[in-house]
């Protein structure tokens, strides 16, 4: 069968799954007075259409910032404006937007799909069969489908732009790649989680080309591209200093505290034992989170700058985003999608660990999905994803040391502990324990009522378990980055 036939089928399957998920309930359905994210998006269309640009980010009688004020960068605002024009054509009555919902989601999500398809086509090192399998699995990743089509958000747009960025930069189209990534940041500021690897990778490339010659030229070109794209997006807001500052205040709400609601990161899990939010003053919290985040991602980034390679770039994206997720300020559980995207990119290289991670990432969002009554779609899409991965990559056969990219690490470890040969076994057992815990917790949360004294017991447990898993992955990915390069260098010496 022709490759494009299969690819079309894969894309159509992805589309069908997304469409059916969007038939379910959405965030805040029928829950006045605040409703949910769906209402937020609708509200943004309302204000961008009716109010002048200068008032979008300001509190006024027409624009009550407490009721879903705009807190994403300008590109989101322009996008909402575009949607508003379409909605007006279909039906100016805002409430009717519910019926056109599937509609708008489709048009804008097509974007992400094209990116994935293109990325898979560009993976030169692997066979065609794997490319299609890869595309299928990435398109079936439950987390993104459930959040974007169920809960209702537009993550696909920013993630799509980021993916274009990764693609461009990996294929040596640096300027296009950085432009795409700037657009991603200007759509959702959370993309800054990915900014450091981009910066280090491009810097590394410049160093490699020699700072005195081509490298310097590249550096200047990149700087110009970035500045130009930012100016273009923020143009209406650069007219007054106060405008820019207000937008920044909305984008980075440092007043909101270390974390909000239940999220599977370190601070939330730690607060089970010690309520740091109440003990430490505000500015200390910011400083601590800053330090931890940067300390955890520094080794990988330095490595990337010194030895830039597309493979290293992808792994560094994972570890950086994960560090940010675990240690950063005001993280929401949906931010795990920023980590899941790069993990999808390395799915073909370490299928077993990637599948495991993607399952945990979907599980970590369970409290949110249950609140939106998305239980059946979650279960079904997770099962479909798992089956697709098992079939496409036969993940359970790829758990040897070499397959897990842990060979060089094990060799180094065996210098001190000669009998340490059972690393794969340990990992397999951990996987089993992790999956059993996730299934059990899901069953418990769905069937039982939490005790009266601890109404959030199950959400906290889910976050805690997910956090432990994520810490494990952080360590794992950092090990791969630090030790794998050594291996690559040794091999070159041998050859």
């Amino acid at each position: 069968m022709e490759k494009w036939h299969l690819m079309t089928i894969v894309v159509l399957i992805g589309l069908t799954v997304r469409w059916t998920v969007s038939l379910n309930s959405y965030s805040g359905a029928g829950k006045p007075p605040m409703f949910g994210d769906y209402e937020a998006q609708r509200h943004w269309q309302e204000i961008t259409f009716n109010l002048p640009v200068k008032q979008w980010y300001f509190n006024s009688s027409d624009n009550n910032l407490q009721y879903w004020g705009l807190d994403y960068p300008p590109l989101t605002a322009y996008h909402s404006l575009l949607c508003a024009y379409v909605a007006k054509f279909i039906n100016p009555d805002w409430i009717e937007l519910h019926s056109s919902r599937g509609y708008e989601s489709q048009a804008h999500k097509l974007f992400m799909r094209t990116t994935v398809v293109l990325y898979c086509c560009c993976l030169k090192e692997i066979s065609t069969k794997k490319k299609i399998a890869n595309a299928l699995c990435i398109l079936l990743y439950p987390g993104l489908i459930l959040i974007d089509y169920g809960h209702f958000q537009y993550n696909s747009v920013s993630l799509g732009f980021a993916l274009w960025g990764v693609l461009g930069v990996s294929c040596d189209w640096d300027l296009l790649g950085s432009l795409a990534f700037c657009l991603a940041i200007n759509y959702k500021q959370m993309e800054l989680y990915h900014s450091l690897p981009f910066f280090c990778f491009l810097l590394g490339k410049c160093f490699k080309k020699g700072l005195k010659g081509k490298g310097f030229v590249l550096l200047i070109k990149l700087a110009c591209t970035v500045v130009a794209s930012f100016i273009l997006c923020w143009l209406p807001f650069f007219t007054e200093r106060e405008q820019t500052l207000q937008v920044l205040r909305r984008l980075f709400p440092v007043d909101r505290g270390l974390f909000e609601d239940k999220v599977a990161n370190i601070w939330c899990s730690f607060s089970v034992f010690l309520k740091i939010k109440d003990i430490l003053p505000h500015h200390i919290q910011i400083i601590i989170s800053f330090c931890f985040t940067f300390l955890s991602l520094l080794p990988a980034c330095i490595k990337l700058t010194l030895q830039p390679s597309p493979k290293g770039f992808r792994f560094t994206l994972v570890s950086c985003a994960l560090s940010f997720f675990l240690f950063s300020f005001q993280v929401h559980e949906k931010s795990i999608l920023l980590v899941s995207l790069p993990v999808c990119l390395v799915l073909s290289e370490i299928p077993f660990m990637s599948t495991w991670f993607l399952l945990v990432s979907t599980f970590s969002m369970l409290p949110l999905l249950l609140k939106d009554e998305l239980l059946i779609p979650s279960v079904v899409t997770t099962m479909a994803f798992f089956i697709a991965c098992v079939i496409s990559f036969s993940i359970f056969e790829k758990t040897s040391e070499e397959e897990l990219h842990l060979k060089s690490f094990s060799i180094s470890l065996r210098k001190y502990l000669p009998c340490f040969t059972f690393l794969p076994r340990i990992i397999q057992y951990l996987f089993l324990i992790s999956v059993i815990t996730m299934v059990l917790l899901t069953l418990i949360t769905v069937t039982l009522e939490p005790p009266q004294k601890l109404p959030d017991l199950f959400s906290v447990l889910i976050c805690f378990v997910s956090c432990l898993n994520f810490l494990f992955f952080l360590v794992y990915f950092n090990i791969i980055i630090m030790w794998d390069f050594k291996n690559g260098r040794n091999q070159k010496k041998i050859n």
């Binding site: 299969l6 059916t20 069969k129 299609i132 899409t381 089956i387 079939i391 496409s392 036969s394």
Partner: protein
């Protein structure tokens, strides 16, 4: 270019296909459901709460029981599971009751009973000889047939969105056909007899079954060139077949015969008062006939050949279920449709599966015929569709775009609200009639199927 998963799972592709489509069916749970949902809920209520003597008389709801007794017993069995989901749905006075648990139960019951369909497809695949095909998974006839049947989108839409139990019934039919292919004729006959008493609409294919069984089972031997050897007719076999049909019918209709309710049951099963075309036209020959009649009447009115006072208003197209008269062309009575059907199937007595669908009376457009076309597809070696057929199929897309997106915004929406349905029906009728014609030609001109070697 290999399909993903070939190397990894080898013979497990069937399980993957079955599991994949089941998961898709689960995702379709919250979709729109039609009045058929209420129909089946009502039948659950009737069979659960009332004694047998009332089943075919009960008329609290407009959706009276009009399937044969075995289906009623099936609903009765389901109702015993339903009571654990939501007791309220079994109350016959709870018209249009559709709580979330009811919806969940009904949808899961369809998904669950589709297991029979999956099994039947598996059996059908065993009957296909796949040795001539290439090594690619996607070129194997078994794979193609499985995909065409398991992932049949018409069936998915009707069963899991609109809501019916066709998958389960089709499973029975496919299983009986598979048994016939496997030379287990008695089982095939038994299964088909049971099927008829589940949904009598399968009477359409009964002539084909009858002729086939007569030919292959009752005549025990052939002449060397493959034609009939008349003196090898076995009365015993004929009688045993008759006995099977008789016993099944006795089991099904017996209780109602004892209660003297047979006329009532039959009148429920065969409502000839419903008219030629149901509210939504089935895309068969009569749709074309009606369309032609409508066109001619409009032309006649324009050219002042017809008197507007004599024409009944909004005759066939307002979506109502009733009998009516055609305006220009001769009106069609039930007897006429029966004669047409018989004439249509007469030339094809030697065939394996026939399409009487095209000429039958009061058609329910929900009846589907995946098997003949599916089997036919696996036999062709050249490309599936020629340019004309491809063009026709591609034309479905603009048609749908027009009907769903463009039409609602035009001014014709209020004046001629039936146009999307009419267009869709007529367009599909053209396609189905053409396919029927091609199938006919192919059956009559194909060389006789060679006997399989004795094992």
């Amino acid at each position: 270019m290999a399909a993903p998963g070939v190397a990894a799972c080898g013979g497990n592709w069937f399980s993957a296909l079955a599991l994949g489509v089941t998961l898709l069916k689960c995702l379709l749970i919250p979709t729109y459901h039609s009045t058929d949902f209420e129909v089946h809920r009502n039948w659950l209520a009737i069979t659960h709460s009332l004694p047998i003597s009332q089943w075919y008389y009960e008329a609290t709801s407009e959706w009276t029981l009009d399937y044969p007794p075995f289906f009623a017993w099936f609903e009765y069995a389901l109702s015993h599971v339903a009571k654990y989901f939501d007791q309220e749905m079994l109350n016959i006075h709870n018209l249009n009751y559709s709580s979330s648990r009811t919806l969940l139960f009904q949808r899961f019951s369809v998904i669950f009973t589709d297991a029979l369909f999956v099994y039947a497809v598996h059996e059908c695949c065993k009957c296909i000889d796949g040795k001539k095909a290439g090594k690619e998974l996607t070129e194997k006839p078994k794979f193609i047939l499985s995909v065409l049947l398991l992932w049949n989108f018409g069936l998915l839409i009707v069963d899991h969105i609109h809501f019916q139990y066709n998958g389960f019934l089709f499973g029975l039919m496919l299983l009986s056909i598979a048994r016939l292919f496997q030379k287990r004729h008695m089982e095939g006959a038994l299964l088909f007899a049971v099927l008829l008493h589940f949904k009598h609409i399968y009477l359409y294919v009964a002539p084909a079954y009858g002729i086939y069984l007569l030919r292959s089972y009752c005549f025990t031997a052939n002449k060397p060139d493959g034609s009939i050897r008349w003196n090898s007719f076995s009365f015993i076999r004929l009688i045993s077949l008759g006995l099977i049909v008789f016993l099944v019918s006795a089991l099904s209709l017996g209780p109602f015969l004892a209660l003297n309710q047979l006329p009532q049951v039959l009148s429920r099963l065969f409502p000839f008062k419903r008219g030629l075309c149901h509210a939504y036209w089935a895309p068969n020959f009569w749709a074309l006939y009606n369309a032609l009649d409508k066109v001619l009447s409009v032309i006649g009115l324009e050219l002042k050949l017809l008197d507007p006072n004599k024409i009944p208003k909004a005759s066939m197209t307002s979506g109502l279920v009733q009998q009516f008269q055609h305006t220009v062309l001769p009106s069609v009575t039930p007897l006429a449709t029966l004669i047409c059907t018989l004439m249509a199937i007469l030339p094809s007595v030697c065939g394996k599966s026939r399409r009487c669908f095209n000429f039958s009376d009061s058609d329910h457009n929900r009846t589907l015929f995946p098997l003949p076309s599916a089997l036919h597809c696996t036999r062709k070696e050249k490309t599936l569709f020629n340019w004309m057929e491809t063009f026709y199929l591609l034309g479905l897309a603009p048609l749908e775009i027009f009907c769903e997106f463009v039409f609602p915004f035009t001014s014709w929406k209020l004046k001629y609200p039936f146009i999307p349905l009419l267009l869709t029906s007529v367009y599909c009728a053209v396609g189905i009639t053409y396919a029927w014609f091609r199938l006919y030609v192919s059956v009559l001109t194909d060389p006789p199927v060679s006997k399989t070697k004795k094992q």
